[in-house]
């Protein structure tokens, strides 16, 4: 047994809650910097005040001790403050990684019974908000949170209260939630402070994502000693060695880092012949077995005194339970995982739970007050993993955690890791249960049998899946796509080996030795995927990759389908001009949205010759034609539609679902435009949205109000009542369309049930949103209002202000102009119409009766305070897209709203019944 007597005594003491330690520290150093993020500092007093507001918000809304609260946020000061606030309230936080697939997030939310999620607005679309049990979402930047008192709470929290739940890979196909109590968190923090000698002048980098153990050690111990947590900025530095740059520019003294990342960093230091940044005094590598070779290189690059540690610990023991600190002369073939931390005990036991002799290998068990309470809702797993054993020399049983790691005790008292009992592995410091991946694979109808292993090629670890199919042609790409929808990206194998059957031993077990080499497996690629062929295409693809932040761009990929926006087009054009010395008009890019077509276009207009391409060559022309056909086939077959209403003919365009027979074909969205210059500004964005939605399987109907766009109608009789009537007519048309789609699907046997429901959704932008909300529409399933006009008089005043500016500013005209009345910024606006606009008071006139209604707001719209009056019952999502409806300099500019479009797609595709 490897436990010192001091540890045994301390394990019975009262340790206290994390919140109590933090509050004591606030009293000691109220004006010291607690958090630093992107140039802004939060003192301990600031941090504590804001955390108190969050705690009070939770308590005011009826949340109680141990209620689980989700956190789905990027790294930021606000995220840390939110964690602290939840802890102070007695609730427990549950990190929800926005990179997780929606299914996994949904499972965690359900498993942890999460009723409220502090969520960056961009991530709300990851959650199904249509179910009755859907959690509430709170934007952590919501000004309402700041209305609560900032004083510490009086109520005491027992130290055995749950502090957080961290989900890890589970072998049964579902992740399991590890429950950590305040007592455990505090125990770990105290041990961390003791071993790493944390001081008030330390500056610890917060580098890890929040659902990773390392984030706990980056955030919580430093805040117990009055030191600063420096959060990694969102903007990635374009430097060769980003981590060194971060450490140097932020004067970081303490760094906790996943072993895989530390290896990469050491390689970069060696490659650039640079030294370990001089500000660093502490480096803790954790998560995987340390490469001794890297440690040797590290020492060569380290010119000053740095406390370097190799820490080990499963999540179930609260971050770390042992650590090895090599002395100056340490050198060996393997690096041990060290000795137990303060208040932790480690035991190497045999199969009968008896301590093995020193040097003998056994299974490693951990005990002490830092052990997790257990897995949430998994009594069977708790029984297996947390056991009570009467250890040698004891009379009372001790609670132990079975790590599943094999280990042995060295004569020095250090523990050496010897492998796994099972097949659990770590890749990129992520703990992965291959059984979980296999379990998900087994749910795929095409898969009869599978085995997932970890492999390594040229020093890079990767996952490989051996798959036996049910006589169905299923590609690696399809399998990877299937898994991506259900597992985190790091759990999706990168190689697939298809076999007729898995090799078995005479005992019937899988013969792993007989498996073909993993690196021979198929890489998942879309069947139609084609890599860039010429050097020029590769250069273009590199520019797209850079602008879109996508690692792999094929030559047939459509820029806009990859998430490109008008703004990004300008960036691409700027880079093409800078790097490839070609200037092209924006409209050329819009007409040539793939690598292949843009490359041909640039070749054909360039004065220079791209020798690989000759646009006049007949083969090239044929290929170009085929490419255009292919590109066209992915786009909707747009249909002009005429909708009669009150003597006018409304011009409309229907974007039918691209693939017949897909799930949403009986779901039709009607888009209601903004008015005047705002409509012109949003037109392209809405057209792109319509295309994308039709590719997702929805039908989309866009139409012009009477007297606007291509619709007929006299300018002098336009009115908002007439336009409301137009909306009703368009919705009716869409309803019939959706019904016909259902009927057709039944005819084609795509849908079995003729009563299959149809869905009609309505999206309105600006005035369109306000018109929808004030129109008594019936039988509407979903309503989405985008930056609605709340007070008509303010809106009208704004239009008049813009109009006056255009006439008098000497920007549009050479001299000041006077103008005929009843027109605003280029559009007809009869007096009666102006009066009806001014009479809009949105929330007093709302007549919506829809199953689901949402309001979306752009960043500038939210900042103007328009969102403050939103009704509480409406789902509100705020995005970081900037449109500037209220800035006159932008009246002539089209805009892109990739994030809002993404949210809209998410709401609509989830909302289909």
């Amino acid at each position: 047994m490897l436990s010192c007597s001091e540890n045994e005594i301390l394990s019975t003491e009262q340790i206290g809650t994390y919140a109590s330690y933090f509050e004591k520290q606030v009293l000691k150093t109220p004006n010291s910097v607690a958090i630093e993020f992107e140039g802004t500092q939060w003192t301990y007093a600031d941090t504590n005040s804001q955390a108190n507001q969050i705690a009070r918000f939770l308590l005011k809304h009826g949340f109680q001790h141990e209620d689980r609260i989700g956190i789905c946020m990027d790294r930021s000061a606000t995220a840390i403050i939110t964690m602290l606030g939840i802890l102070k309230s007695g609730c427990a936080f549950v990190p929800l990684d926005p990179e997780f697939p929606k299914d996994r997030l949904a499972f965690i939310v359900e498993d942890a019974s999460i009723q409220l999620i502090f969520c960056d607005s961009a991530y709300r679309e990851l959650y199904d908000v249509s179910s009755t049990n859907a959690p509430r979402f709170v934007d952590p930047l919501d000004t309402q949170l700041r209305q609560h008192e900032t004083e510490d709470l009086d109520s005491a929290i027992p130290e055995t209260t749950l502090a957080y739940v961290m989900y890890t890979s589970g072998s049964t196909g579902k992740p399991k939630g590890v429950q950590i109590e305040h007592r455990s968190l505090t125990t770990y923090c105290l041990a961390d402070i003791e071993l790493y000698q944390l001081k008030s002048d330390d500056r610890t980098l917060q580098f890890s994502t929040l659902n990773f153990d390392i984030a706990i050690e980056e955030i919580f111990p430093p805040l117990m000693v009055g030191s600063a947590v420096v959060v990694r900025p969102r903007e990635r530095a374009e430097v060769f060695n980003e981590l060194s740059h971060l450490v140097e520019t932020n004067l970081i003294t303490a760094l906790h880092i996943a072993t895989a990342y530390w290896n990469e960093w050491v390689d970069l230091l060696v490659a650039s012949e640079s030294s370990v940044p001089s500000s660093l005094r502490l480096v803790i590598a954790t998560g995987e077995k340390i490469s001794v070779e890297h440690y040797r290189r590290w020492k060569q690059r380290c010119n000053h005194e740095v406390l370097w540690c190799n820490a080990y610990g499963p999540t179930e023991t609260t971050v770390s339970c042992t650590a090895f600190v090599p002395d100056r002369d340490w050198d060996a073939l393997q690096m041990p995982i060290g000795k137990p931390l303060l208040r932790y005990s480690a035991h190497v036991l045999n199969d009968h739970n008896k301590t093995v002799a020193p040097g003998e290998t056994g299974q490693l068990f951990i005990s002490g007050p830092a052990l997790a309470r257990g897995y949430l809702n998994r009594p069977d797993r708790n029984e297996q993993a947390f056991i009570h054993v009467v250890l040698d020399g004891d009379t009372e049983p001790t609670r132990l955690y079975r790590t599943g790691d094999l280990a042995r005790c060295l004569p020095s008292g250090d523990i050496e890791f010897s492998g796994r009992v099972d097949h659990q592995m770590k890749i990129g410091s992520y703990r992965i249960e291959p059984g979980e991946i296999e379990a998900v694979l087994s749910q795929c109808e095409a898969v009869r049998e599978s085995l997932v292993i970890g492999a390594e090629r040229e020093g890079q670890k990767f996952l490989a899946a051996y798959v036996v199919l049910n006589q169905v042609n299923y590609s690696a790409f399809e399998l990877a796509s299937y898994l991506r929808g259900r597992l985190p990206v790091y759990m999706v194998p990168s190689r697939y080996i298809f076999l007729d059957s898995l090799p078995k031993t005479i005992n019937g077990k899988i013969d792993r030795v007989a498996l073909p080499a993993a690196e021979t497996g198929e890489i998942p690629r879309e069947n139609s995927y084609r890599e860039a062929e010429t050097e020029f295409e590769r250069s273009l693809a590199a520019i797209w990759s850079n602008v879109l932040n996508i690692s792999c761009v094929g030559r047939d990929d459509d820029f806009f389908q990859l998430g490109g926006s008008s703004l990004l087009v300008t960036r691409v054009i700027a880079q093409i001009a800078g790097k490839l010395d070609c200037a092209i008009p924006v409209r050329d890019f819009f007409a040539n949205p793939t690598i292949a077509s843009l490359s041909r276009h640039l070749a054909s207009i360039s004065g220079k010759t791209f020798s690989e391409i000759n646009a006049q060559d007949s083969d090239s022309l044929r290929e170009q034609h085929e490419q255009s056909l292919k590109l066209r086939s992915k786009l909707p077959k747009i249909q002009p539609v005429s909708i009669p209403n009150r003597g006018d003919t409304l011009a409309a365009i229907l974007y039918p679902a691209v693939n017949n027979g897909v799930a949403h074909q009986n779901h039709c969205l009607v888009i209601c435009n903004a008015y005047g210059h705002e409509h012109t500004r949003s037109a392209r964005n809405l057209q792109q949205l319509a295309i994308q939605l039709s590719q997702s399987g929805l039908s989309v109907l866009r139409f012009d109000y009477a007297g606007t766009g291509n619709s007929s109608g006299s300018n002098d009789r336009i009115s908002i009542d007439l336009w409301r009537s137009n909306i009703v007519a368009a919705v009716e048309y869409a309803r019939n369309l959706a019904c016909h789609a259902t009927h057709d699907a039944v005819q084609k046997s795509v849908v079995n049930d003729s009563s299959s429901p149809t869905t009609v959704s309505v999206l309105g932008v600006r005035l369109g949103a306000s018109l929808i909300a004030t129109t008594p529409l019936i039988n509407i399933d979903q309503v989405i209002l985008w930056d609605p006009i709340v007070e008509g008089d303010r809106y009208l005043a704004l239009l008049k202000q813009y109009h006056e500016y255009e006439l008098s500013s000497l920007t549009r005209y050479l001299n000041h102009r006077s103008a005929q009345p009843e027109q605003l910024v280029g559009y007809e606006c009869p007096n009666a119409f102006q009066e009806s606009l001014a009479s809009i008071h949105l929330w007093n006139q709302t007549k919506i009766e829809a199953r689901q209604h949402s309001i979306l707001s752009s960043q500038d719209y939210s900042e103007l305070g328009s969102t403050e009056s939103f009704p509480l019952l409406w789902e509100h999502q705020s995005c970081t897209d900037e449109i500037y409806w209220d800035k006159r300099d932008f009246t002539g500019r089209a805009f892109s709203s990739p994030q809002l479009s993404q949210v809209i797609r998410s709401i609509l595709t989830k909302g289909t019944r």
Partner: protein, 320 residues
């Protein structure tokens, strides 16, 4: 007025709207059998509706004057879908104009076309007319221009002096300096697009080719392009060889802006342009031998086979 939308083109990706003529409103003899339609080309990145519905109102005015029209979106703009088209954007526009003409010829029997182009639409119209002999006239608003010595003086006097004397401009400038760095917009900045003017010599050659072919051209300039066009007679200082060519009409409207935002300016423009189209078409059609009596075939610059036509008369009513 009857309007019919169409989806057309090689890849069924282009969108346009045909507006029938109100035949009864034309009093010339050829009106009933008119084979001429006006095509409105995409203005910059704006949809077929045009700036402030200019194209819709122009279509209405043309219809009332007995002329059919077709307004459409180039690929990747408005409702037309991008399918990848190499070559210069003007050549691509010319190809798509041809596809529109093919549609109209097939569906409605038009075999002559007049073009209306604003901004890049004007640039595209010249290239399209060079490529296809079916095009017999074009009204080009704020098309190509080349700075002359006199232009610089005009620019200073008309644009910069009033601004220098404007208190409001100074206010804006100073507040702009203070607030500039605060906005990082996701909107698309104006003025990023590239106009594709040929060299002055090439422009001279191209226009010469067209008018030698009998194509009628009406150039309209506004203060919206004061950076390269700033006084009434600048066109003839740019292209002195066209001074006595009756096929060309030019007008300069310093009170108008580039997109004719004000209703009164727009109506004036529409009135002028539609009347020019109506008069020019009537003149052309009155001079053309009925189709069944034509027998000479010539090959024009675009390489397309076409019936010969004698088009040498220009109405210079609106020439300034």
């Amino acid at each position: 007025m009857i309007e019919t939308p169409h989806v057309f083109g090689t890849y069924e990706n282009l969108f346009g709207i045909h507006c029938e003529s109100n035949v009864g409103s034309r009093n010339d003899a050829s009106a009933a059998t008119s084979k001429t339609a006006v095509l409105m080309l995409t203005a910059g990145m704006l949809s077929s509706v045009g700036p402030s519905r200019l194209h819709v109102e122009l279509a209405k005015s043309l219809s009332q004057r007995g002329l059919a029209s077709f307004r459409f979106d180039l690929s990747g703009i408005g409702e037309s879908l991008a399918v990848g088209s190499p070559g210069s954007s003007q050549k691509r526009a010319a190809r798509e104009v041809q596809q529109a003409m093919d549609l109209l010829e097939l569906k409605y029997g038009y075999d002559r076309f007049m073009l209306f182009g604003l901004c890049s639409g004007a640039d595209d119209a010249i290239v399209a007319a060079l490529e296809d002999p079916r095009i017999v006239g074009a009204s080009l608003m704020d098309g190509c221009g080349y700075r002359t010595n006199r232009h610089y003086a005009g620019l200073l006097l008309r644009k910069y002096v009033p601004k220098l004397l404007s208190f409001r401009k100074w206010q804006e400038y100073l507040s702009g300096l203070l607030s500039k760095s605060k906005i990082a917009s996701s909107t698309m900045p104006e003025g990023l697009d590239i106009r594709e003017f040929p060299s002055q010599e090439q422009a001279t050659r191209e226009i010469t080719t067209l008018i030698d072919r009998g194509v009628k051209l009406r150039f309209i300039y506004t203060s919206g392009v004061i950076d390269y066009y700033s006084y009434e007679k600048q066109f003839y200082d740019m292209f002195p060889s066209f001074k006595n060519r009756a096929e060309i009409c030019v007008s300069y409207h310093p009170q108008w802006d580039h997109t004719v935002m004000l209703r009164e300016d727009r109506h004036q423009l529409i009135e002028n342009v539609s009347q020019w189209f109506a008069t020019t078409v009537a003149t052309i059609e009155s001079k053309i031998t009925p189709p069944d009596k034509r027998d000479d075939k010539v090959v024009c610059s675009g390489g397309r086979s076409s019936q010969a036509s004698e088009l040498s008369i220009c109405t210079s009513v609106y020439q300034t």
